[in-house]
Symmetry: C2
Subunit: 361 residues, 2 copies
């Protein structure tokens, strides 16, 4: 494997000094990019795009051709695991994901088996290997998975939901059954992320998209406990290098202290939380990743620059910050605003460290 | 006016001792009640129901006939103010609210005038007066309004929105224009709540449904600053009695300290926040209202009782707790689960104060 040229992401996740604040963006490979839409049109549908390593590699690299981002993130979907469990995943055009066989009773939970990554999820690992080769050490590759609870939400509801009534009814009435399902998911997610690490992922991120819909105590018991179990099972190193882990619970602001204590290296925060407050609350335990409101990217380049600088100032300098959005890029985002953001983060954070840059730097 | 027989709500909001924890429920008059649906069907549509004081009185009292709730809340809608500003409110069946004339530019903002409560919003004040008469002092009546920012969201988007892209674009690009709009809204809301207090409302609540979608700094500048302005303008007393104020920002967990410092008597909290944590964070400054996950009411009476007791235990006893949900009752809620909840809150909180109740008490 090629030596990593730009290791700012890895260093920042481990709270080591970097010459500037590294930046990558959730959904940086996505529908706001015309070249992504062209590849997706060639693939025919979203699942084929995910399941064809050459195409997944192509779209993973697209944003790096446009912007000097400090990381690539595997192009895939969090639902590859339940799909590999045989639940029958499909994406209807303009709608969210659908499972043909949702998991709602003892029998269905009893049938669940964690997929073998190099068998049922081989296509993901092939994509990781191809992306690593294509990157040639330019920037690190981030692997990822959905959190055990977030996967359970889709598996139980059979798709997305406004209020997760079916999941919550199981949580409150049959906590034992939900725990059994979450145990399977935790094993599946740990196996999957370890396989991604073995295939070449240089950092890993857990997306807990729906943990934030839970009551405080339920979050700790049904989401964070299984995130901790995954984190504890992860390989800490690969090829002699530390592989940092990031945990992101959307809406997890009230619980940052608990999340920071789960064993991860970095905590993703959404835009509702001030990075200064977050830093005060988590202390020296973890790095922070975030947290610009993605809708800032709908405005104009001047506003984007101003808000990027505010976000950096809110964190306040020093090691341990990875710049990101507080959630994914929205499809209506003009790509030139992303260019302005990446440029502003690099320039302003360098200035914060080193004093004013020379003109044209 | 009749003397208040059950003043537990008022006392709890003012952090005075009560013999048990008072309970009321957001959307306690609503679609989960067959009698509400019957009245609404008679009214023909939702807006007519809101605008006909006799019908608004009828539905306000319906839940009190079924359950020994400790407060009534005015049946109305937060959008009465922008409707009275002439924006052309309608509710399409099965959809959310729509404004025919959204407010998106200087000219539209310049045309906005705070409604005169006893003129354009007379029907609300007539409802308040009729409800007070019908209650005959049984329990207090809570008046309410949307927060200036939450009203602005609907006024600018022209309805609800998945991400409030139009509002946020104005917030980031034309903060001056949004501030002008919010100033008008703050005056309108303060006038409206003061008129409700004069007409007989014994406590008032500000619903900040969408403040929680904002970034930390934007929340303070565009939502909380105007909530504070409203609170400062409110009459503190009516007919020689204190009129407590409640502020509820859905998703406001990360900002509880700031909300508690806005001058209100009580802070509503949603279920993502532990009441014990919230209490630690706000100290002795305010009472807390909340915070059961409304979806618990979809389960069964035994679970409802258990979770009610957990919520009471989470607060931990002592004065300053008003039991409520963390958001409105969902339409699929079986009314008998609401009965179980109210009974459990009363029984368990009395026990916490006085020791075990006698059988059948």
């Amino acid at each position: 494997m090629a030596k990593l040229e730009n290791d700012t992401l890895i260093r920042a996740l481990l709270r080591q000094p970097t010459p500037y604040t590294p930046v990558w963006l959730m959904r940086q490979a996505g529908r706001y990019l015309p070249e992504y839409n062209a590849t997706r049109a060639r693939a025919g549908d979203f699942l084929t795009l995910c399941k064809t390593p050459a195409l997944a590699t192509e779209v993973t690299l697209q944003p790096l051709e446009r912007f000097p981002l400090d990381a690539a993130i595997l192009f895939s979907d969090i639902l590859t695991i339940p799909d590999a469990m045989g639940l029958g995943l499909s994406f209807a055009e303009g709608e969210g994901p659908r499972f043909a066989r949702p998991v709602r009773d003892e029998a269905a939970v009893g049938r669940l088996v964690p997929p073998r990554p190099e068998a049922e999820l081989r296509y993901v690992l092939d994509a990781v290997r191809q992306i690593r080769r294509a990157l040639r050490g330019r920037v690190p590759l981030i692997g990822f998975a959905g959190s055990p609870f977030t996967l359970a939400c889709y598996m139980i509801e059979g798709g997305s939901s406004a209020d997760f009534g079916t999941v919550k009814t199981m949580l409150y009435r049959r906590p034992d059954l939900l725990h059994r399902l979450l145990e399977v998911n935790a094993r599946a997610v740990a196996d999957y992320l370890n396989a991604q690490i073995e295939a070449g992922a240089q950092a890993v991120m857990l997306f807990d998209t729906w943990g934030g819909t839970l009551a405080h105590a339920a979050y700790l018991e049904f989401s964070l406990a299984y995130i901790r179990r995954v984190i504890e099972s992860l390989a800490r190193e690969a090829a002699g290098e530390r592989v940092p882990s990031i945990v992101f619970t959307k809406g997890g602001g009230p619980w940052l202290e608990s999340i920071a204590a789960c064993g991860c290296d970095a905590v993703g925060v959404d835009w509702t939380v001030s990075l200064a407050d977050a830093r005060r609350r988590v202390g020296e335990r973890v790095a922070l990743q975030g947290n610009l409101d993605p809708l800032v990217l709908l405005t104009d380049s001047a506003v984007v620059r101003r808000e990027a600088e505010r976000t950096l100032a809110d964190f306040g300098g020093g090691p341990g910050h990875v710049f990101n959005l507080g959630h994914g890029i929205v499809p209506a985002t003009p790509p030139e605003h992303v260019a302005a953001l990446v440029e502003a983060v690099h320039r302003a954070s360098r200035t914060r460290v080193r004093g004013p840059a020379p003109p044209g730097a």
